[in-house]
């Protein structure tokens, strides 16, 4: 144990004496959190919607048809009552619920006006905005066409409501994304580089010749980064809250526990990379291309997954950050408990096991 503590101490010396490492560890997280405030605007496609039709007449059916026929939406569920609305938002990946008021066609015929309510999940602010605009456009298009055929002009007023993020702040999108990105960067990239550095310098051989067991060496190298990545996670949550007003509606303990899980996963990925990479540079390139870019592009961080070509959507399913982002968005914004994120949590645990098994196997091969 004493040997082991000495090892960890040495690892901290490395970190605190290298200005570049320190910059990556503490400078980049803060900078990125601030930079990603300006999220790229994107387009939507095949968005899952649910419809609550309280009227069930010809007009509502026709409008529903119009909405579904457009490329933008897919009807996933027909709701029966108000109470189901919140539930579908929390459980499903439904982004919008369209509600027709009772006696829709009748009111339209009598008063020339009727109401549609558009409720959107605004935890992804950009997408929510676009979805609502598209839906409104389809409805007004329908109204215009009808008015050409009829004598009495009619009017349908969409009433928009955002849930989870009423003021449509994009911060709700980028704080979880940045958190995933930073934890991935710090954990996977820094460990893979620091292990590769020992190999490159030849000190790894000296360690392997010593009485330390390979597992001790790896764990000793990893522990400092667990601690530092965890500090980063806390920093992001605090900064997000103080500067951008990002809430933590759910359990903070659960949020931190999930962060720790994601950190461990990223670390195991870092170890796997280091078993492949012989030099620091190779480790860095693999981390950048295999981790950073997919985390930014394919995790749903900036570009909505629903909108990607099918191939990329499939790839996004094997991106660990995707599940982590879903989990922390649920906890931070929707305030849901473990009951709603256990599936994603299991996926992360499974992925971590696979990475650890693969690295153990790789490590053994290398020692032959």
């Amino acid at each position: 144990m004493k040997q082991f503590l000495g090892f960890i101490k040495k690892e901290f010396y490395h970190i605190f004496r290298d200005p570049r490492t320190l910059l990556v560890l503490f400078g980049i997280p803060v900078a990125q959190l601030l930079i990603f405030g300006y999220v790229v605007t994107t387009e939507v496609k095949n968005i899952s919607v649910a419809i609550l039709d309280r009227s069930k007449d010809d007009v509502t059916r026709e409008i529903t048809q119009k909405i579904i026929e457009s490329d933008y939406f897919t009807l996933t569920q027909n709701l029966q009552s108000d109470t189901q609305i919140e539930e579908v938002f929390k459980t499903g990946n439904i982004k919008e619920v369209i509600v027709f008021e009772p006696n829709f066609a009748q009111k339209l015929g009598r008063d020339g006006t009727a109401q549609i309510q558009l409720i959107a999940d605004a935890s992804d602010a950009n997408t929510a905005n676009l979805i609502v605009n598209y839906t409104s456009a389809i409805i007004s298009d329908y109204v215009q066409k009808q008015n050409k055929l009829q004598l009495m002009p009619m009017q349908i007023k969409p009433e928009v409501r955002m849930v989870f993020n009423e003021s449509l702040q994009s911060v709700y999108m980028f704080v979880p994304g940045t958190m995933a990105l930073i934890l991935m960067l710090v954990s996977a990239m820094m460990t893979s580089i620091s292990i590769a550095r020992e190999k490159e310098l030849g000190t790894m051989e000296i360690l392997l010749v010593s009485p330390l067991k390979p597992a001790q060496i790896i764990i000793g190298k990893v522990i400092p980064y667990v601690a530092l990545a965890f500090i980063n996670a806390v920093t992001i949550i605090v900064l997000g809250n103080l500067i951008f007003g990002m809430p933590v509606n759910g359990s903070l303990t659960l949020l931190l526990a999930e962060s720790l899980l994601f950190i461990s996963l990223a670390l195991s990925l870092g170890i796997l990379i280091s078993t492949i990479a012989k030099t620091q540079q190779v480790a860095m390139f693999i981390s950048l291309f295999a981790l950073m870019l997919p985390t930014i592009m394919l995790s749903g961080f900036i570009f909505p997954i629903e909108n990607m070509p099918v191939v990329l959507q499939m790839i996004s399913h094997i991106m660990p950050p995707k599940y982590f982002i879903i989990i922390i968005k649920n906890i931070m914004i929707k305030g849901t408990g473990f009951g709603f994120v256990w599936k994603e949590t299991l996926v992360l645990i499974a992925m971590m096991m696979v990475f650890i098994l693969l690295s153990v196997k790789k490590f053994k091969i290398r020692l032959q």
């Binding site: 090892f7 310098l201 051989e205 000296i206 010749v209 009485p211 020692l367 032959q368």
Partner: protein
């Protein structure tokens, strides 16, 4: 120097796919001797030394290091050996003191013992003022000597040196060999690979590897006599050309 073997190698074979890096090696190293392990680049020296240190496993053969079986008692072997590779092996961004504390620490030495031995070492080498200097700021010659001192700091029974003097000037090399003699006097067995033939003359016994096989093993004087030449350089060239 005694005639008690501390390393016994019987029929060591190491294959990488179809390539045979070590082809039935047989030799013994005696306790307390300086054993030179010579050969051209790619002759299989590093492969053999890595196997003896437990960094790699042999394809077949019986090996015994410091009285322990290489297959079953790897952990015990590791406690009794020191290793210095051709790559320089101290941490550049740690001070001399921190490097020593770290390496001695992983061999389980107590803080008190570490401090005592460190004071001793710094005094012997007359470098007390380097104690708190970062290793990265020292000249290569010093780094090399310190790496050796750290490799034997836990007082192993055998120290393996894989081309320890690569890239240093002749004066530093001479000083480095003074340290090796000192360690040998203290009873540590030295197993050293080199391709400087003048260094081969400093060894008690020398083996010469060619293409994965040991072609000759004797004292430097014995080898010169056998091959009827005046220096080790010519012994080496004769053997290497014969293949």
């Amino acid at each position: 120097m005694t005639n008690k073997p501390i390393i016994k190698v019987e029929n060591l074979v190491k294959k990488f796919g179809n390539f045979v890096a070590n082809d039935h090696l047989n030799f013994e190293v005696y306790e307390g001797e300086i054993f030179g392990f010579l050969g051209a680049n790619g002759a299989g020296k590093t492969t053999a030394i890595r196997i003896l240190c437990g960094l790699s496993t042999p394809t077949s053969g019986n090996l015994n290091v410091a009285g322990f079986d290489i297959y079953k008692q790897t952990e015990l072997i590791k406690r009794n050996i020191g290793y210095m590779s051709q790559k320089f092996s101290l941490y550049e961004n740690l001070t001399l003191k921190e490097n020593i504390r770290f390496y001695a620490g992983i061999y389980g030495l107590s803080s008190k013992e570490i401090n005592k031995r460190m004071d001793n070492l710094l005094e012997t080498l007359k470098i007390g003022d380097l104690r708190d200097k970062l290793i990265g700021s020292l000249p290569l010659g010093w780094k090399q000597k310190l790496a050796f001192s750290v490799a034997i700091f836990h007082r192993p029974r055998i120290v393996f040196l894989d081309e320890p003097t690569g890239g240093v000037d002749p004066i530093t090399r001479r000083q480095f060999w003074d340290l090796i003699y000192q360690a040998a006097n203290d009873g540590i067995t030295i197993f050293v690979t080199t391709h400087y033939m003048d260094e081969a003359e400093y060894c008690d016994r020398v083996s010469i590897m060619v293409d994965g096989r040991i072609e000759a093993l004797d004292t430097p004087a014995g080898l010169k006599k056998t091959y009827k030449v005046s220096n080790m350089d010519e012994v080496f060239l004769k053997l290497a050309r014969a293949s």
